[in-house]
Amino acid sequence: MEKVYERTKGIQEDKVSGFCPGCMHSTIAKLIGEVLEELDVLDRTVLVEGVGCCGLLMDYVSYDNTCAPHGRACAVATGIKRTNPDTICYTYQGDGDLAAIGLGETMSAANRGENFTVIFVNNGIYGMTGGQLAPTTLVGMKATTAVNGRDPKEHGYPMHMCEILNQLEAPAYLERCSCNTPKNVRATKRAIKKAFQNQIDGKGFSLVEIVTSCPTNWGMDALKSLDFLEEKMFKEFPLGVFRDR
């Protein structure tokens, strides 16, 4: 029988996803693996994990990986990529990691035009620590540290990282996508591939923001969370290409 599909070599053979039902991390990890395999760079790739659920990727990927302190992935990646330009380096960070504690590192690496790839998973909430308010939490959305929901008077408004980074001159590529439908999954894969191809071509800082769900901490089942994603999250975080040079 002809084999028409097989698991990417970027994911360890025997691993079964331990992510929560409806979580999109496993889909994204698969897409990244496929892209790296298609670009034939798996044996020279380094993953720099952020802290939080993103860090769980270490148990699944088949290639070199390291863990940055919370928020510092872009600084760690700077050190790796600058000393080993042939290495394909990417950071994998959540919204708390990239946009709260690591905002300085993210902005500065982007502003220097560092030649690595950032995969930014934005689900509007802290996952592993248990549903606390994130910089991307929607107005009115409940969190364990904002039980009445995000109140702009107290917490301000959600931060839009692609839009903020788009104010900088240096970044090569900024796109926001999602994995809620097969069509969007394919679009996300295209975006990820472009972000890595840019690195191979030496174009500089490329970031793909993937708006995802967190059914567990949103307090919804997987299907409802998809509706929420489409109805609420995409309104606040419109999908699209912000920068492509």
């Binding site: 720099v48 290639y63 070199d64 990986n65 050190g79 790796i80 000393t83 290495t87 590192e105």
Partner: protein, 357 residues
Amino acid sequence: MGRVLMKGCEAIAEAAVRAGCRFYAGYPITPQNEIPEYLSRRLPEVGGVFVQGESEIASVNMVYGAGQTGTRSMTTSSSTGVSLYSEGIAFCASARIPIVYVNVARGGPGIGSIQPSQQDYLQATKASGNGGFQMIVLAPSTVQEAADMTYRAFDLADRDRNPVLILSDGVIGTIMEPVELPPAKTEEEVKANKESKRSWACVGHKLDVAHRSWIQPGTFLPARLEERNKAAAEMYASWEPEAEEYLLEDAEIVITAYGISARIAKSVVDDMRREGKKAGLIRPITVNPFPYASYEKINYGVCKGILDVEMAIPALMVQDVKMGVKGRAPIETCLCSGGNIMRKGTVRKAAEELLLR
């Protein structure tokens, strides 16, 4: 190569390059700015990389990243900035990434002052970050030593796969003294050093899960973490302390000090000896591990007292000195703080008073 007159900071920077350091990241802070300034010019000449980080936190993490590729890497800062290193250094210690960093210490706590001090002793030797890790901490008392220790620190870091700290201060950083620079590693040597770390370096490997590089500053498994911590503790226990033990046999007073205070103290010992007064000196060269055994060499039969000299109020190293002396002689302190620099006359006066007892 003959001796050249160099500023402490520049000697540290040049020694690092000669040791094969090819990555530096740092953030401006007085009084150590000459190190990044020097390296921003010098590193590109040898194919190295200089990055001015957006903060100390970013800088130490860049060095953590660069160290993971097997590249000899360094960062430097001064007291306030070194506090911000805690997180990154703890990650280096946990993930066993060899890096070198330098504290050109200034007055504290907090923003303190920009003038020299020795107020970071406990931070440097006991807890430079969370989790109870240890580092070899070298304390230079001359520009020559600052250069030699920086050079050597890279070997120690590689040997142990652990961070090494040079605990200096604003005097050593800013004075100029004649220095004979250590020989520069050749490009082949630098390459070979990096290649020797290839097996664990996080730069990409043939797809083989068992042999991929997996840099783990932590683990979800307590049992595994305990094993790692045990292994690290064994390594810490293997370190040999180093100290200068000077004229102890018949010393009626023993002055003890490290770094800048030690050279001042030693000249007081020499002055007193010229007048027939029996003074001696113990100078910890590694302030961690601390040379407790050196205090066994004191002749407690004749010793009237120990004088602990530090540019720190309250006294900090004295806690270790007490553990070395074990109550066998009285310990007095001679201190200044906040950026004031220890005077020879002050040490002399305190030593004479102790001798009169």
